[in-house]
């Protein structure tokens, strides 16, 4: 759960996040409790946008919404990522959620829905939500009901160094697993480190296993495994075996088991400095590569995780996640209006241009300029299936066990079967 989010936003946040969050809190403290007597509705909006430029862009959007709806006041509460998670867990236990709140969907949202705390938006967001990018809505669809409106979506794929690929004689990015292993072999033969991996942080390794499981067993099998708490599906075990094939080629940089993700000697920097040919990472990868290392500029390319021959999943199925806003059960109509405003083309275009998120409104694509971001967007738009980050989709203990046992597989101390067994065991322990 925490790890990926922490690192992703951590680099953006620098150290200011917590302080800013507190400032925002204290700034909002004074004008709470809007007077409903005079017909003003106050809506509490909890989000995790504690960093610039998002922070001010969102504040300006709130002002704009207030100007259009004179009887509505928005009270923004901003918390830094991990603080937010802790606070929300406590609020869920107490049974009182804010009117509008940030959600990643998946296991945590399901918990809140099961507790009867979240408004079912299926009917109330029609028809405007129908126009949103289908894959972006996916994390918040539970039992075919809509529980949140997205504002951000992203996916994981391979970010590669075109120059290094050329030098190794790999002209086009591979589309099959065999082709991928071949490319790794060619890179090795050309004395280029094929892949950078942050072994210390575990979640980047999990991406390989998750994608392989999606390609071999299929998304439905993963969902079923999580529902029945049984991960022994042959396809899932096969995913581990495929990962082992890759590990046995020794494709990773020297000392990868101790490498962090965004540190100066970490995975992102290794790729960003041209010392490894690729990494499997989310849409934020180019930013971190340029931040922790030099960045690759126009040499940077993107290709989707290859398909596995004979597997049930297609290359067009994506693994990723994003952010959305859910409403507490019984939230006023103004809150729904706000979601509509936030998911409008004009707003999304502003978000895409100013805060660097990928568009959830297809028409807002015009705000994109970077070719790689466009490639990711194209992939998302054409997605035929979606799997949320496993550590968000599953209960925390199960998500951590996936990360942990896959890390053991990569380190060579667990077999593919043992990975499946460990995850199953942990899943069964959770109630």
């Amino acid at each position: 759960m925490g790890d990926r989010e922490l690192s992703r936003r951590g680099f953006l946040a620098a150290s200011a996040a917590a302080g800013l969050g507190m400032t925002a809190l204290s700034g909002c403290g004074g004008d709470s409790g809007g007077d409903s007597a005079s017909g003003t509705t106050t809506i509490e909006w909890w989000n995790i946008s504690t960093t610039e430029p998002t922070k001010s862009v969102w504040a300006a959007l709130a002002k704009k919404f207030e100007a259009r709806n004179p009887h509505v006041k928005l009270k923004i509460v901003q918390l830094e990522n991990d603080a937010y998670k802790a606070k929300m867990t406590a609020l869920t236990a107490s049974g009182k959620l804010p009117d509008v709140f940030h959600t990643w969907g998946g296991g945590v949202l399901r918990q809140q829905v099961d507790a009867g705390l979240v408004e079912d938006l299926t009917g109330r967001t029609r028809p405007w939500a129908d126009g949103l990018l289908p894959v972006a809505k996916e994390p918040y669809l539970l039992d075919k009901k809509v529980y949140a409106a997205p504002f951000d979506i992203g996916m994981v794929g391979f970010w590669y160094n075109k120059a290094l690929f050329r030098r190794a004689g790999v002209d086009t990015p591979p589309t099959t697993w065999t082709g991928f292993l071949d490319a790794v072999g060619k890179l090795k033969a050309a004395k280029i480190t094929p892949i950078a991996l942050a072994g210390k942080e575990k979640w980047p390794g999990m991406y390989y296993w998750a994608y392989l499981a999606m390609r071999t067993a299929g998304i439905d099998a993963l969902r079923k495994a999580s529902d029945t708490k049984d991960f022994s599906d042959p396809g899932i075990v096969a995913a581990g075996a495929h990962l082992k094939e890759l590990v046995q080629l020794q494709p990773f940089q020297k000392g990868f088991l101790g490498a962090a993700y965004s540190a100066p000697t970490g995975q992102a920097a290794t790729v960003g400095n041209g010392k490894a040919a690729m990494e499997l990472m989310g849409q934020w990868a180019p930013v971190v590569e340029a931040d922790a290392g030099k960045g690759l500029g126009s040499d940077l390319g993107f290709f989707p995780f290859p398909a596995v021959e004979g597997g049930k999943g297609a290359i067009t199925e994506v693994f990723g996640g994003g952010g959305g806003h859910a409403l507490r059960r019984g939230a006023p109509q103004a809150a729904v209006d706000f979601l509509k405003f936030f998911a409008s083309e004009a707003t999304d275009l502003e978000l895409v241009k100013k805060t660097g998120v990928l568009p959830v409104v297809p028409a807002a694509e015009s705000g994109l300029s970077d070719p790689n971001t466009k490639a990711v967007q194209a992939q998302l738009k054409a997605a035929t299936g979606f799997q949320l980050y496993l550590d968000q989709a599953y209960a925390p203990a199960v998500g951590q066990e996936v990360n942990d046992s896959v890390a053991a597989l990569i380190a060579g101390s667990k077999s593919p079967e043992q990975v499946a067994q460990s995850i199953t065991k942990t899943a069964k322990q959770e109630q």
């Binding site: 072994g199 210390k200 020297k254 000392g255 088991l257 101790g258 000697t265 053991a408």
Partner: protein, 332 residues
């Protein structure tokens, strides 16, 4: 002194001069109550804080260790001793115990003797002695987090200072993957721990050495004792109380090691540097299995408690004689 009649023989200031003999009995009782109240009054804040912030949480952790509990609301899903049986079947936890022992043994066998040697050396008349003392003590002042970040750069495989230095002197073969290799991670960690902590123990020993009376060493010298004999038979026995405290601190520190490991490796690669505290953190704050994490902390507490009590009973007894507060009074 009149105050010796009070429990503990040390409580309370003398509030008034001794009253005249006629009313002595009543006055004494009043004074005693007054003193008791004063004592309670002064101790109450500390006591409340200790009970509220140390004792109750400890008891609660003990309670929680018998439940399957996610950390929110009150624990309700009773698990009996399940958490503990699961604990002792968990290879990571058993590995933690082994690694703990590894660190304790190495600390006692290498780190402390090294610190002692440095202390004896820096106790000699030596040019720039104060500078050396300061230099060796400096790492102790750094926080563990800073130390961790620093050394993950020094030992970065291939690119780090350590590899460059080894390469420069033609010892490339000795360079490895340091923290990234399961077979060298603990040794590297121990190296960093020694760098950080030997200065502290050295300071302890230096302070101890200052209190060794030079007459004794001189007397031994006159009796014809060599340097080793003087050290072995005069200095070391007189330094024993300091040594015993230093061993105690070192062992407890090894059992509770967390910050450094968390910053440098997070327990990896593949659990090969995980300590009890790291495992506890993983389960408590990453997996939200707080009941299980509590069980780990209870075991950790048990290890520290048993060790402390046994150590005090059998090893520190002589040093503590007369130092602890007893009800014995001064016998007047």
């Amino acid at each position: 002194m009149t105050s010796t009649f009070l429990p503990g023989g040390r409580t309370g200031p003398d509030l008034a001069p001794p009253p005249p003999p006629a009313s002595r009995g009543r006055g004494r009782r009043r004074r005693r109550t007054l003193n008791l109240l004063t004592a309670v009054g002064f101790q109450l804040p500390a006591l409340v804080l200790f009970i509220g912030l140390v004792l109750l949480p400890m008891l609660f952790a003990l309670y929680a260790s018998f439940f399957r509990w996610g950390g929110f609301g009150m624990p309700s899903d009773l698990a009996g001793a399940d958490n503990f049986t699961r604990l002792f079947q968990d290879p990571v936890f058993l590995g933690d115990l082994g690694r703990c022992l590894f660190l304790v043994v190495l600390s006692l066998a290498l780190q402390l003797p090294f610190a002692l040697a440095m202390a004896v050396l820096l106790n000699q008349r030596l040019r720039g002695r104060a500078v050396y003392r300061m230099l060796f003590f400096a790492p102790y002042v750094l926080s563990e987090a800073i130390t961790g970040v620093l050394f993950s750069m020094v030992f970065a495989p291939g690119d780090g200072l350590a590899d460059h230095v080894l390469g420069a002197v033609g010892l490339d073969g000795l360079g490895g993957e340091w923290f990234a290799d399961p077979s060298t991670v603990m040794a590297t960690l121990f190296l960093v721990m020694t760098w950080k902590y030997f200065g502290f123990h050295m300071m302890l020993y230096l302070a101890g050495l200052q209190s060794v009376p030079p007459e004794l060493t001189e007397a031994a010298l006159i009796d014809g004792a060599g340097p080793w004999q003087r050290f072995r038979n005069v200095t070391l026995p007189l330094l024993a109380p300091t040594l015993r405290i230093s061993v105690f601190l070192s062992v407890i520190g090894s059992v509770q090691l967390f910050d450094l490991v968390w910053v440098v490796t997070q327990g990896g690669p593949d659990h090969h540097s995980e300590t009890l505290a790291v495992t506890m953190f993983q389960y408590g704050f990453k997996r939200y299995q707080v009941g299980y994490a509590s069980a780990i902390s209870v075991v950790m507490f048990g290890i520290c408690l048993v060790f402390s009590l046994a150590y005090q009973r059998f090893v520190l007894r002589r040093d503590l004689e007369g130092a602890t507060t007893t009800m014995r009074g001064d016998g007047t």
